[in-house]
Amino acid sequence: MPDVLKTSSAGPDSAQAPASTADRPRQSGPFTDSRHRTRYILLVAVLVLVSAGSTLGILLWDNKAAPGTRAFELIVGMRMDALVVIAVVAFCQAFATVSFQTATGNRIITPSIMGFEALYTVIQTATVFFLGAAGLTLFAGGAQFFLQAGAMVLFATALYTWLLSGRLGSIHIMLLVGVVIGGGLGSLSSFMQRIMDPNEFDLLTARLFGNIGNADTANLKYVIPIVAVTGLVIWLRARRMNLVALGADVTNNLGLNHKREVMVSLFLVSVLMSMTTSLIGPMTFLGFLVATLAYSATDTYDHRLVLPVAFLIGYAILSTAYFVLRHVFYAQGAVTVIIELVGGLVFLFVIMRKGRL
């Protein structure tokens, strides 16, 4: 700080201040210096180690069959499915939340504000309400999965093409309308839940918490390619997103159509969110947590550095929580609860320590 004061009192045309950069090459780029780069590499290494540890833990912990036998392979195979679901969910939440926050220029909101969860809840509730408990078993399988995911993408796309390209053209109005519609759908769901048979309600509740066990692994063969392609597109657009994060005026000035970039980003976000929500249910706090921690840990504008770290943090958190709950406490199903409790505390700690978002 004293430096700042000194130069501003030195007068407007003070001689060129001595270069603070004499000892290093004058270079631009996502890393400010070599220490920043080292810190990043270390961060990735630690995250990979934690992820590898929890992955091995989930696969091998308390696996009573002898290695090499058929029973061992079966158990590992079943546990592998859970890991794939965890990876898909972590990937979707991380990429979707970071892209969404960049597109909307706001790091406090999550894609759930566009009503994905409310829509998921209302679809699930309506299924049980109109078809009874049998409806839940009916409402499984590929076709229904795509029906639900398609409805979410359609809903989100309709919302932002209508509200972003029209005369209003305001992202804030779009978010507000998203909140209002989400609230309306939420009330509709709770109305149906109120007059529902208590037994059916009990069955329904299990589906309304994000739960790895909810996933119908038969759908993974469609989900993985869709998520992979969407993720690749986001990756290829990462440099544009760096620019979009600077806001509409700067983006347009530098020759990129901000509105178009935002709309494409929101479409990709809606695809990822529909995939993860249809697969396991709502888990947006994870996305928020992961994105915030990733910004804080990487401390860079470059999405090519933020996105992989966000995914790794998501995978590490989710797989560790799953491992601890399932294999140590035998309390599967409560993953969301634990993530919200522990994650919330970690989040508060990081914010307090750093003093900024």
């Binding site: 700042v4 003070s14 631009s28 780029g29 620019l243 000035n253 530098l254 020759g255 504008y301």
Partner: protein
Amino acid sequence: MITLENVSKTYGAETTIGPVSFEIPAGGVTALVGPNGAGKSTVLTMMGRLQEVDSGTITVNGRDITGTSSRELAKTLAILRQENHFITRLTVRQLVGFGRYPYSRGRITVEDEKYISEAIDFLNLTAYENRYLDQLSGGQRQRAYVAMVLAQDTDYVLLDEPLNNLDMQHSVQMMKQLRRTADVLGRTVVIVMHDINFAAAYADQIVAMNDGRVSTVGTPAEIMRPDVLQGIFHTPFEVVDGPAGPLAVYY
């Protein structure tokens, strides 16, 4: 040369900017002055294609801006708004590096680095280039934004109230640097500003706007007359001879 022909924009049923027609010659500093709500910023942002034109045409170097690809235009014309708030945390050098986006598309080359360094040095930011923007004073931050649009290496640099929130010292410093941008780098600088004395001291041409229309275009000497100034700003003026030219007194 930037040419505006019958350019207009309508907000709601009541407020209309234009039709406006004037020319900004290549080279030198042009100041857009006028009272609040006169439409200065609207006209500037339309020139910078940040807002669409409702009717009329704007051409830059003979090319209609609505028909030119935004990416090509970004190599000819740069515009800086007064409010700049980023969600990402950037160092000065990273920010200025974004000015090379029309050329590099995010992949900074050795040549880009040269332009970035030049822009930073030109605005006396060399010592701060690795500081984060939130560690700078308001004046330094404003200079960093200007460095970004200079790194864009465009013929035209449009600035929307660059003196906003700057104290006297930093205002003078900013205007001197913009004057040098025109004189040394040969850019055409267009500035929206409030202070008529600043405009008179540093601009080659003054475009005065009033109620959404251009009321007067002229050199500082032609504008700095009590009757002309009163017509523009609707407040009584006296013009006295200062050490470096006429001074408007209005308080």
